[in-house]
Symmetry: C2
Subunit: 358 residues, 2 copies
């Protein structure tokens, strides 16, 4: 963490210098200011809080406002870091921390329950400048799994650590540990009970897979938060954090901790975070596939995201969405579900928040 704080402090200083220049230009020669603005490096940030059958008729006004307020708080946290010259990696982590610390999303505090009534969290992060990456799977005592993924990336020779081993590494790195009880929320626990009942009924009909065809169960099962950012230095980063799948068994690992499936970042192309039915996102290597379509086939981010989310994943039978920002600052928020909690914010501070389909 020391290294990170140092980098952040350094960029903070540079950012102050930049701001001073902007201000002086603005106050003296307004016409030039507009031209000068174009020379300020582009930056931007985009987030998701999960995709699924999110419909206005099932959402109270009060809950909708809570989601919007938390999405705004999260994205503004990262945007401020970027505006001040901070790194994309720092912006991604701190933005995801806000969502991890809220019970609204299936990540961190709001993680769903496994079949055994425990919470198993996954996360991953990738640095587009170095193609370095870190990830953790099945941790039960880490308050902010995205921060542990970052430590794996910068302070180990590994990419992916799991379970008790990942937690041992967390202790050594001084990452915040919580009692597993921290992840108990009444609403998520009730979800587990409801899903157990429904699955029991469906299992009686001798088809384990029908549980996945019930939209209520599927949406309660899945959920993720993610962020992708471009900083003023042209560096991209992406991260994803999840509480996994309600009622999951067998220590299932989804796409969130899988580099290339749940998370990918490459300064040459794009930074992507996925949310959806993880098994299909692993088989489709969704995050990397968008990058490959851009790099190898010359598609724009918009075209690549549409190809993967609207054609390739549905062809496999899966659903979900992605958020992404490319090396020029273009943003995609593509999903094939009814809704996706999402927000984007550009260099000029223009903010757009969405929940339902358009």
């Amino acid at each position: 963490m020391k290294k990170l704080l140092l980098v952040f402090a350094l960029f903070g200083t540079l950012a102050c210098n930049n701001s001073a220049e902007e201000n002086s230009v603005n106050s003296e020669t307004p016409e030039v200011a507009s031209e000068e603005k174009d020379t300020i490096p582009n930056f931007g940030i985009v987030i998701h809080g999960g995709a699924g059958t999110i419909l206005k008729e099932n959402m109270s006004d009060s809950l909708e406002q809570q989601y919007k307020a938390k999405l705004e708080e999260a994205i503004k946290t990262g945007h401020e870091i970027l505006a001040n010259g901070g790194t994309a990696l720092e912006a991604v982590q701190r933005t995801i921390n806000v969502m991890e610390n809220s019970p609204l999303f299936n990540a961190g505090k709001g993680a769903v329950f496994t079949n055994e009534g425990t919470n198993e969290l996954d996360a991953s992060i990738m640095d587009g400048a170095t193609l370095n990456a870190g990830a953790v799977a099945g941790v039960t005592t880490i308050k902010n799994p995205i921060n542990l993924a970052y430590e794996v990336m910068v302070n180990s020779e590994h990419v992916l650590l799991a379970g008790k081993g990942a937690e041992k590494f967390a202790e050594e790195q001084g990452i915040e540990i919580v009692d597993p009880q921290y992840f108990y929320t009444e609403e998520r626990y009730k979800s587990l009970q409801r899903i157990r009942e429904q699955e029991k009924t469906q299992l009686d009909h001798d088809d384990q897979k029908t549980a996945f065809l019930d939209p209520y169960i599927k949406d309660s099962k899945f959920g993720t938060v993610g962020c992708a950012a471009l900083d003023k230095n042209g560096n991209l980063a992406a991260g994803t954090s999840t509480g996994g799948m309600t009622n999951k068994r067998y220590n299932r690992i989804g796409d969130a901790p899988i580099i290339g499936a749940g998370t990918y970042a490459n300064n040459k192309t794009v930074a992507v975070s996925s949310t959806g039915w993880g098994e299909f996102f692993i088989r489709g290597m969704v995050a990397y596939d968008i990058s490959a379509l851009m790099e190898y086939k010359g598609l724009s981010l918009e075209e690549a995201a549409r190809e993967v989310i609207q054609k390739k994943i549905p062809a496999l039978g899966g659903d979900g969405g992605i958020i992404a920002i490319d090396h020029e600052g273009n943003v995609a928020m593509e999903f094939n579900t009814a809704g996706m909690y999402r927000a984007k914010m550009n260099r000029d501070g223009e903010l757009e928040i969405g929940i339902y389909g358009e």
Copy 2:
């Protein structure tokens, strides 16, 4: 397993019919036989037993013969299945089983030891026809992890299961369970002791990563077996199995159980199995990247494999190799290390076995 046997039995029957036709053509009209031969669907198989600093001067003639004999036994097992009309998936599994059951390779019986003196095995398999996939990570009691990966693919809604949960699923599926003592081999245990000593010395010099720069340690750390096959029906499959990394800590997961990194298969393009420094193969999404270069950029398998293994992975600082077979039966055995245990066998039964660089 029932489904699999049924499919195998069915193809076995078809294969017998094919053989009968071939025989009758051969015996009656030799000239036509040559033309007829071209109408026999192409098929082929390729395997690896790990890549690394494998040098002739460090290898006894006796050990070299043992490796060659086991590679031949393994590939002929799969080739016979394919020749008889069996599926690529079946050929991949049974071929890998031969290597998993040998102490020569770091997979199954010959798995290396973790820092705690245990053995944690990983495997994955992918079906190029359906893009379905199955994988397991960190299992300690599964004799043939590739068979469990197959069960995950066909008998669960999941792709990746880990640790105790994966073992519980294995019990339910009737997969062969062994006492962890089964994986004890004196040679691997001595390797762990040697590496512990060397790493201790290097850790005293305060740089954890230097351990990876010692070629002896690195080669002892990594090792994998893998197989890719094209069957007479034009279906591709690939699989990978490993004992992981000697002296590994923190429940590290490498590329072997990661679809797109260690294993990938797609009937449109290619089937690939990777072996090497897993962290770099995850970051480079090696197996899928070869497929993407073929599909999106129009590269041949040879060009794509060379691009990834000779340029992209070394640029990241990693090393290793891949074996692959494409939808036309073209084969690649590409590595940037001194050697790679490998073999390939085509429709005509031509066998090529290699250990060192050319």
